[in-house]
Symmetry: C2
Subunit: 226 residues, 2 copies
């Protein structure tokens, strides 16, 4: 498949690399290609340079949000939650119409420091904000509850015995995301229901952040016991 | 120990019965003893009558919030989250001073129907509201992430292989709660840190409610995988 991964940070790179390894045709989307490659992009500057990473993943292309999404089968929102709606608007509503839009972002508000709170109330979610802004996209929330490396290598922790969730209004889109999750190695995927159920996994972040703090590692997640 | 369990609903009854079975001297606290025993209390009327339950637990006494807490070693807040501050005010600040106050309630807002949202933001918690209102109480948040029967019989699900959390500012109070949790059968207790970390477990409810919906059972919880 053609997969557009929006976002050049850790999550975007890790997902782009993993999908490329699985044989998909992956394009990373960014606001400004030159700025991203030169390291002038303020988002990318916080981490190792994108150019250095890109050299290790020659099959992955880099393009603008609009170019990356223009012919994608799946669009992955791996941008910072606070910037997600802007990034998707840059991609262009016409490029999102009918697309499976896998949203892995979190609505984190760092304005009062760490740990962040959420910029949504418990009666809303970032996934719903995206679905409302782009009603013809087929938004599926998933993977936001695990750190980047667990998204793509779940077996590195407890032999993969942990849970990820999917939420979305479109059954076919959820089935496609479910297949991608299976390809990545996830074995316990719970379909919570429609897009409003994304409130659940997004509100796991306040607990996840404190587990990371108490246990001293981001390699922590949950197994749903039932 | 002398344990005051505030609240006459399912959670209060289940905890009161379990603590009595463990040999503790348990008093259930209520707003109006006569109303609770006659079934006129609107809270109790939604379930089987309190009087019928009380007949099955003869060791458990019933008293007003103030009487129940007056000489308690531990006060358990098992009231409806929206009514918790009022119930604790009825108990009286003087009866909560220095007390270990185990808060198991959830800040659920049913004003828009089911599933409820939370009446706190992600920058607050009910436990913190209680600690702020009663600064001399030693508030410990725990057990709010599991249904009543799992609070007291954790082994009925996955041989007890699931996690509960404690949050609080007072190390001795957390140690006492930890001992009570162990007596109830909990084997995986994670100390998240100070009382602000209660935001984590309280914000698990939006996910828990949707898991209950998707899986069709309240006998669902999480194991923290690390």
């Amino acid at each position: 498949m053609k997969i557009a991964v929006l976002g050049t940070g850790t999550v975007g790179r890790v997902l782009a690399g993993a999908f490329a390894s699985l044989g998909h045709q992956v394009t990373v989307g960014t606001r400004d290609v030159e700025a991203t490659m030169s390291g002038a992009d303020p988002g990318a500057a916080r981490e190792d340079s994108f150019a250095a990473w890109a050299a290790t993943a020659p099959a992955v292309r880099l393009a603008t949000f609009a170019q990356a999404t223009a012919d994608a089968d799946v669009v992955v929102n791996a941008t910072n939650g606070a910037a997600s709606l802007d990034a998707l608007r840059s991609a262009g509503e016409e490029h999102l119409a009918g697309r499976v839009l896998l949203d892995v972002a979190n609505p984190l508000d760092f304005s009062a420091g760490f740990p962040p709170s959420l910029f949504i109330s418990s009666a809303d979610s970032l996934a719903e904000q995206i679905q409302r802004a782009f009603p013809s996209a087929r938004v599926v929330k998933s993977l936001n509850t695990v750190t980047a490396s667990l998204m793509v290598r779940p077996h590195q922790l407890a032999d993969g015995q942990h849970t990820v969730f999917v939420s979305g209004d479109d059954a076919d889109a959820k089935a496609l995301v479910n297949a991608l999750l299976t390809d990545l190695g996830h074995t316990d995927v719970i379909d919570l229901g429609d897009i409003t159920t994304a409130r659940g996994p997004e509100h796991l972040l306040p607990l996840w952040l404190r587990l990371m703090g108490a246990l001293g590692t981001p390699l922590v997640t949950v197994k749903v016991v039932r």
